[in-house]
Symmetry: C4
Subunit: 281 residues, 4 copies
């Protein structure tokens, strides 16, 4: 089947996995750089609102392209549904799993459009973009939750873990509607996005081993016990990566940027830093 060609394969899971990992690392970088600039009171171009807006617009365009590619790919691949939904002759739905994926991509596309509009039109509150992002994640969790009807228990289990992490990232994105410039919450969101990405890879390895060997025993409870901790190891590894990125960015900001743009505020620094740290809590 066409859906199998895209998602029901190792590549079909590696592709979205790679996408989410790239997005996650990009957001981690962005959050930390923003945070470092705020901490060091840089008035440089790097921390300015103008740059931030341009980046958001580029981000949005890339996301729209990806969502469009995903939607078109799901529909017009060989054996795909080609935008037809119901086979009236045989009286059955066509490629519903493909349509599920198209739906998810569409919501991410909606979010990307909102994000671009919020960045270009100043009268639009930026929280609209956050809301649409949270919605896209909740819809993804909802669709995946109703996705694995009648499969094997291990298949269901790995998708349940996916639903869990997608739901949690949606929740954090929703909480972000009510917070501002809270680097901790931003990194938590990034970590969930990264976990989602790496878990997509893991699902690919479990259900469609790229080595060509036999798939895992989908009925074995021991495998569930292992995947439970495997999920945690992914998460631990992600935090180590984020920590490394943090250390690198802070070192970069401190060592390099100090040469070019010495901060003009010197005396007030410690006072302001205090205030900021309070604000963050």
């Amino acid at each position: 089947m066409g859906v199998k060609v895209i998602m029901g394969s190792f590549k079909g899971h590696a592709l979205p996995g790679t996408f989410f990992i790239i997005v996650g690392i990009w957001w981690t970088l962005k959050s930390i750089v923003k945070h470092a600039c705020r901490k060091h009171k840089r008035a440089s171009y790097l921390g300015s609102k103008a740059l931030s807006r341009r980046i958001d617009i580029v981000e949005g365009i890339v996301l729209i392209c990806m969502a469009l590619t995903g939607m078109l790919g799901e529909q017009f691949i060989v054996g795909g549904p080609h935008l037809s939904l119901y086979n009236y002759k045989e009286g059955q739905w066509i490629q519903l799993l493909g349509w599920h994926h198209t739906t998810m991509y569409f919501f991410f596309g909606l979010w990307a459009v909102t994000s671009i509009l919020c960045s270009t039109i100043s009268s639009l509150p930026t929280s609209f973009s956050k809301l649409m992002f949270s919605n896209a994640l909740f819809v993804e969790a909802f669709v995946f939750y109703n996705h694995t009807h009648g499969r094997e228990i291990l298949d269901i289990f790995v998708h349940q873990l996916l639903v869990l992490v997608v739901f949690l990232s949606g929740l954090v994105a929703f909480i972000e509607l009510f917070t501002r410039n809270n680097v901790t919450v931003e990194l938590l969101r990034s970590s969930f996005i990264l976990l989602q990405g790496s878990w997509f890879w893991q699902i690919g390895f479990v259900l469609y081993p790229p080595s060509g060997g036999p798939a895992w025993d989908l009925m074995n409870h021991e495998n569930i016990m292992f995947l439970t901790i495997c999920f945690c190891w992914h998460y631990a590894f992600i935090f180590i990566i984020i920590g490394a990125i943090y250390a690198f960015v802070i070192w970069l900001v401190k060592s390099r940027l100090n040469r070019f743009c010495p901060s003009e505020v010197g005396l007030l620094k410690s006072v302001e830093r205090e205030q900021e740290s309070e604000e963050e809590m």
Copy 2:
């Protein structure tokens, strides 16, 4: 049965659906107009508290009328319970589903009364009205949750989705108790109300096809898979509608109103806008 006459039919689902869609669009308009007036610091009549109060009173009266009609309709329709609850002869309850609907209407009526009182009596906190609205939605979710005892799986599934969206709108209404003038949360609430309305229509189409054709196969898992994404498409479509309304209202406020009531605050504008955008987050 009498209940079947009202709710157990296409019209019985289209009617409340239409009602919720109208309310949802009305609230979307109201939120956006209010937001636009705040943004543009209009001191015009449109953004004044006096008008806002009058609108709330009219809204409340319309809601009371609707709730009363609903309650009376459920009770005094041909074959309805006519306010009798228990048949002592046969030892069984009379038309419990009809009484379920009456109960829901009653809570919406209670909310409408509170809303009118909060608008007319200035000493009453407006959060009372928000609380009663949230309560009415939670009660609706609770009743629908216990509504579909012993039906087919597809019937239960579409009602579960209804419970989900009603519960979520109740949750957002509860969150609104603690926020103020947050246009994003208000639009989220409106979107859930609209989704509820359009989903009522969908339930009507699924369970009682108006074309007179045979009902859907209520035991088919493929249908559940389709309705999952159908639910998401409703939601996506609603956001597109809300976006269109937003664009239209902003264009209207900017182009038309500027002629009649030039804003008296000019210099302070940008400063205030900054503050406001902070407040919203």
Copy 3:
């Protein structure tokens, strides 16, 4: 059995029901009077901190007496466990349901002690008392959740509804840890306490009809459908009662107290009222 003598009877449910109804009405009155005094800037004795503390102490003492009576009653009634927990001869637990009730009473006792300490010792934060109250409710919900092992479905259903309302009141009490003088949340909490009380009565009527007639058919699904809306009617009725109390108290404060203690703040009144209404939201 001894437990049956206390709780497994109509009186055993009417007693705690009456208690919670009295507490609920008392808190409703207190919240509204406090709110009215704040609104009208009364510097009278009625709204003073000294009186508020004395009332809290009296409240705490009454609660301790009730909790002690409950605990002793559960233990030393004819056929009760008499503080013995395990029958080593027969190798089985003694009267575990009685011990369940004792445990709940004990947590309410703990809360009452904390409440008195918080009122007498000024260095103790009042939020301790709120935390213990929330804990007492959560423990009650937890115990009731594990209380109805192996009973009939209707019995389980009415207790599940009890668990629901107790859990919700615990949640509201927990939210109150983070709010202050929010009359809406306080009334919501009172309404749940009242609902708990009236639902205890309803359980008594369902499981042990005082008329001496036969109990309800515990296996009938129609009865579950009815009790669902019955629960809602209780809640609706409670809100009508709270509304009536509100109207009465406001009328009393406005008409009577104006004679004896004319408010000394006149001009600033409207300004302060505005500020207050903002604070409340």
Copy 4:
């Protein structure tokens, strides 16, 4: 089996239990001393930031040592997995329960490292440490939730209660991300940590009676009924302990410290105390 040697024994549950009890009591003391110092405006060394940081570093080092010991102990005990995960010969996982425990220890280790880094590097927000703590607890709850596959109902029940308390402490730790110096929330978190510790002991007593007598009947529903209230008694006892510690610390701070370091702020005291009590709410 090796896992049985460590965790599947009375000692294996008493050890982590003792650890959590010590940590819980230590945090209770710390929170109360901090709170007392804030209340009494002590400028003494005891309430200073420098000391607070040093304590955090020592705490972190102790935690790292414990996590390392736990991880190494789980792996290199006689019969343990010795870092090998999969037996390719027999085609099955090795000691997955041991790896589960290793994973939990690892997350606590990650938190300890973050805690030390946040204390030594001033530019790191302290909320990072709180986030990692919350994560460690959520991961622990997640692993325990998937830990008791295919065991007896009583075994599952006591572990479910463990999951409940671990999840709740994770939730409170997450809420602490958004609060500051709120002694009530801090004590609530400590109480859950203490409950976790004492419940570990209880599990040891239930599943592996140290008296050498026969284990409890794992299929008996009466035992579940008893353990429900036993859980509550643990919690009640913990609150009594916390209350005693509170009274002792306050007495100590008031009586002893007054001699050595008379507070330099006298006149402003009452004003500031007012402000503080407001801040706490």
